[in-house]
């Protein structure tokens, strides 16, 4: 119990520190976090709203939700590749503290900026007159999504200590996953893409969220089971790999 309390306390302190360091000397603060998804949204909306988006109901909301959810996944996992090897590596060599806190803090920091992106989504929903009732389910989806991302981050952070170029490989792979995930298009009748996305966990979370939040309909059961399975699978895998490798971190960095 005391260990868990200490882990969370430390995770929040690390997240606060990371946030302060990232915003050092910045007058626009959180605006910089919103700028990237916002520009991406405007650009994709201008290009695709008349083509791919014409068949999709509430296309701007469909697009924005896809962008901000994938952005959360991308930011957290990319930062996690530097969690152990980055600026905190000297501490790992001199103090014994729960290393998991470095990963949890990365997720906490990204949740914070994600909340602002969700506010942006709410504003757009109000402008377009879309229903907002489905948003009450979002925290539940976010928990499952965070568990999945936490598992991924544990795996990437631990493996980067052993394979230094993993962050470059992941930066490339995450772009491929971005295009493979239906963010700015709908899978529709594209069978090959549909089967491919069955192996893409992000697809499940984004589709469930769109169904619940934008279209206020209950998602199909196989999607819910898939999302829960991926969350559990990646959590178990992440904990197994991280716990197996963490004892060697201080020697290898």
């Amino acid at each position: 119990m005391n260990r868990t309390k200490n882990l969370w306390r430390l995770s929040f302190a690390l997240a606060k520190t990371q946030f302060k360091l990232k915003n050092e000397g910045s007058y626009l603060g959180i605006f910089w976090y919103l700028l990237n998804p916002l520009l991406m949204f405007i650009l994709l909306l201008l290009i695709f709203s008349d083509r791919l988006g014409s068949q999709i109901h509430f296309y701007p909301l469909y697009l924005l939700l896809g962008i901000i959810m994938f952005n959360f996944f991308q930011q957290a996992t990319t930062e996690s590749t530097k969690a152990i090897m980055g600026s905190y590596s000297p501490i790992i060599k001199s103090i014994n503290f729960p290393k998991e806190s470095l990963i949890i803090s990365t997720i906490l920091k990204n949740i914070y900026s994600h909340i602002f992106e969700i506010i942006l989504f709410v504003i757009l929903s109000l402008i377009l007159g879309a229903p907002l009732t489905g948003l009450i389910f979002y925290p539940l989806i976010l928990i499952f999504f965070c568990v999945f991302i936490f598992g991924c981050c544990l795996i990437f952070s631990a493996l980067t200590v052993y394979f230094v170029d993993l962050d470059n490989i992941w930066n490339f792979l995450v772009r491929v996953i971005w295009f493979a995930t239906p963010i700015f298009y709908d899978i529709g009748g594209q069978t090959k893409l549909f089967y491919l996305n069955l192996f893409n966990p992000v697809y499940y979370y984004i589709t469930i969220t769109r169904d619940l939040v934008i279209y206020t309909k209950i998602p199909e059961l196989w999607l819910v089971i898939g999302a829960a399975t991926y969350s559990l699978l990646f959590l178990v895998l992440g904990l197994l790999i991280f716990n197996r490798l963490k004892n060697k971190f201080a020697e290898l960095i």
Partner: protein, 247 residues
Amino acid sequence: MNQKIERVIVEDVSKKFQIGFKKNQSVLACLTSLVSGIEPRRSIQVLKGVSFKIREGEMVGIIGENGSGKSTLLRAIAGIYNFKGKIITRGKIISLIGLDIGMQSRLTMKDNIYFCCTLFGLSIKEVSQRFNSIVEFSELREFVNTKVYQFSSGMLQRLAFSIAIHCNPEILLLDEVFEVGDEKFREKSTKKIKGLVKRGVTVLLASHNLKLIEDHCDQVILMERGSLVKIGNPREIINIYLKKEFK
């Protein structure tokens, strides 16, 4: 009779480091090694069957040449390195190894105090209660809102040491902490350590400063190439070390 508890029990502790093996391989290098063969790994024994016990309220010095295993031993006790053998510690460990306690150079002294104390397991409330005392002890009051990248190494040492001793240590592990900084602060710090020892804190101090060790330690451990040569009275052990009788 009041029996003092054994705070640190080290039993037959050994540690190997792998050398020659490029420790951070790339994925590509690993794939090519499947064809070219894996580079043979060599290992170096940094600790060899080290055993000793330290009771509460004892200050023990660790001396030895560079590479003798002093820092590795402290890291093993702190739980930073894994090892072969057994180490039992009873009490909260605060390690000050190479003055690195996680200070972030782009943060102010105040932010660093809160951050580092949290790293040592204190709650925000506890840090607030100790904040003034930490600042006073470090004698850096006027720099509370200064970012620490502007601090000299002596100032960093004062701050790190001040934070460490205010985090309720029961076992204090100090590695080369008095190598920088002025004589006045060193005296003040050693006096503070003696006060902590009187209150039952166990201190392990690895240092090349033999006078400091002789003046303040109850026992001294002499290390040589990862082995514990002898543990005993400071003067006797320092004489052995200086005369190189263990070689």
